[in-house]
Symmetry: C2
Subunit: 323 residues, 2 copies
């Protein structure tokens, strides 16, 4: 099969690779759509020790099950199923969790990928597979929104600010509204991205938060956005933190203590979150999902360069492995 | 009346001061016992901009209401009562909150203090006022324990580590057990303090945490303890953070995100927490409370020096304003 292989810092090659084989409980999925995530970009730039070259990146995929033709979207998080976390339905903190695109599992920037049957969610015929591939990034935001709302005091206004207008930030705004937040505002400094979100997605976007806000989603995850989050959150409020941008912290812990702020580290999603997200997408509760740009996998290297240079206004680029 | 007046960095004087007058809704309390808090120590060292000299410090007090002789312990946090936070029972995040020992309210290292009637909790006759004065510091820990337990996933073990064996740390261990945590361990580097907690209070004490723990209470609040908290907390767990020790942060935010840690800034207590704490004390649910050392207010300056030099093993020094 053909695959986009990460070969070293800023080097991706579209080459032949061995086809994956299904182990017990697994099937092979013919990949039809595979989104580029910020974490793929981190790996591409050599910033992710968890993803050493050579490796097939990509973990936001939808496709067709080989053999039975079922249209599916893929939950890329594989967990042990038997530990206390898994039994409690918190598969995302399973100590043995794996994700495709991290060894020992190859990723989905390829024509085929092997996955456990239990990680697949069937996609109804009215949903294109290029949209179904958004289940993964949206599930990340859905999970963070769910945790944040569970922590938010019932007496506070249902109002949120999302820092960052990439796919995770946009998806956070969509998920928050689907879960009952009345008013969301995305803070996005890139003018082209901000205009896209405003004009094409109908989102409320601003250069900075206008007033203290009960709920903040940090969908960037760098020290600067953490500093902003801990300064603009309303007393008694909640920060949900998704990104893995840098290691320095940036939080104003003194203010967080004096004003009783809750900070929630949020990582991926539970299996139930993934299914709930997919269902909400299929039911149209997360909007039209028309915020992707599709490109052939063969031109994946150029797509990474364009994203890095800020030349892509759409929050998500979807690679298509088949001509 | 006599009072211990903070006159400048590391300077306290036992002097005459004007007696307080009760405003509308207030009464004057004859102070019988007034505990020294870490925040009094911060002020004494000149580290608290909220407490400028000259000022009467002290906010952990119990005494007798002038005029009717009622024995009371004092909730020192005065809130507006009408804002959204107050109406929701979160008086501790009221934007107009005041606390005695911060302008415009003088503190309780004095023979009398004026307080709103609604801030008083009647103390039963079987409880000495020197113990009743512990309601305030214990309420701080009770509140943090309540928030932490509300955030802790029901599937996780009921096991906690408390960083710091001062009054707040010891009270956190007591409050956690009273609220259903089966096993607590206090981490305390000062050998004399550790021995006191172990031998005199029956607490489990260690020099460092032996294994990942679902719930951490940081009862110190410096960058070093925050770093420890974020490293030893079990995946999916909770850190409750009480102290205001320094401004740098120290948190391992990357781990907190990858392992889905919740960090809760906790400040003082709600009025209900204060009443619940006092009731739990009166009912004997927080132990014998025999971990104080009593000294005359007249010798308050020496008490501050002894605490600062680490020469006091008891977690709490109670000053008595009357001979």
């Amino acid at each position: 099969m053909k695959a986009l292989i990460y070969q070293g810092v800023e080097t991706l090659a579209f080459e032949d690779a061995p086809e994956p084989r299904a182990k017990a409980g697994e099937v092979v999925v013919r990949v039809e759509a595979s989104g580029i995530c910020g974490s793929d970009m981190h790996a591409y730039l050599g910033h992710d020790a968890r993803r050493p070259a050579p490796l097939i990146l990509g973990h936001e995929a939808a496709g067709v099950v080989e053999g039975d033709g079922r249209r599916v979207t893929i939950n890329p998080l594989v967990s042990c199923g038997v530990c206390a976390a898994c039994v409690a339905g918190r598969e995302n903190i399973c100590a043995d969790r794996q994700i495709i695109s991290m060894p020992p599992r190859e990723g989905a920037f390829a024509q085929y990928v092997a996955m456990p049957e239990s990680n697949l969610v069937t996609v109804p015929n009215h949903v294109p597979l290029a949209k179904a591939a958004l289940a993964e990034p949206i599930a990340v935001s859905w999970h963070a929104a769910r945790l944040a709302l569970a922590a938010l005091s019932p007496d506070m206004e249902r109002r949120a600010v999302v820092l960052g207008g990439g796919a995770i930030g946009l998806a956070a705004a969509l998920a928050l509204r689907a879960q009952g937040i009345a008013e969301t505002c995305i803070i996005e400094p890139n003018a082209a991205r901000a205009a896209y979100l405003r004009d094409h997605c109908g989102e409320t976007v601003a250069a900075q938060a206008a007033r203290p806000t009960p709920l903040i989603v940090d969908a960037v995850g760098i020290s600067q956005t953490r500093a902003t989050a801990s300064q603009i959150v309303e007393p008694g409020g909640v920060i949900a933190h998704i990104g893995l941008g840098d290691h320095a912290d940036g939080l104003d812990v003194r203010r967080m203590t004096l004003q009783e702020i809750t900070f929630i580290g949020s990582y991926t999603y539970t299996a139930q979150d993934f299914r709930d997200t997919a269902q909400a997408m299929f039911d149209g509760k997360l909007g039209s999902l028309g915020w992707t740009e599709e490109r052939p996998l063969q031109k994946g290297a150029a797509a990474f360069q364009d994203i890095r240079s800020g030349a892509v206004a759409a929050p998500k680029v979807i690679l298509r492995p088949w001509p």
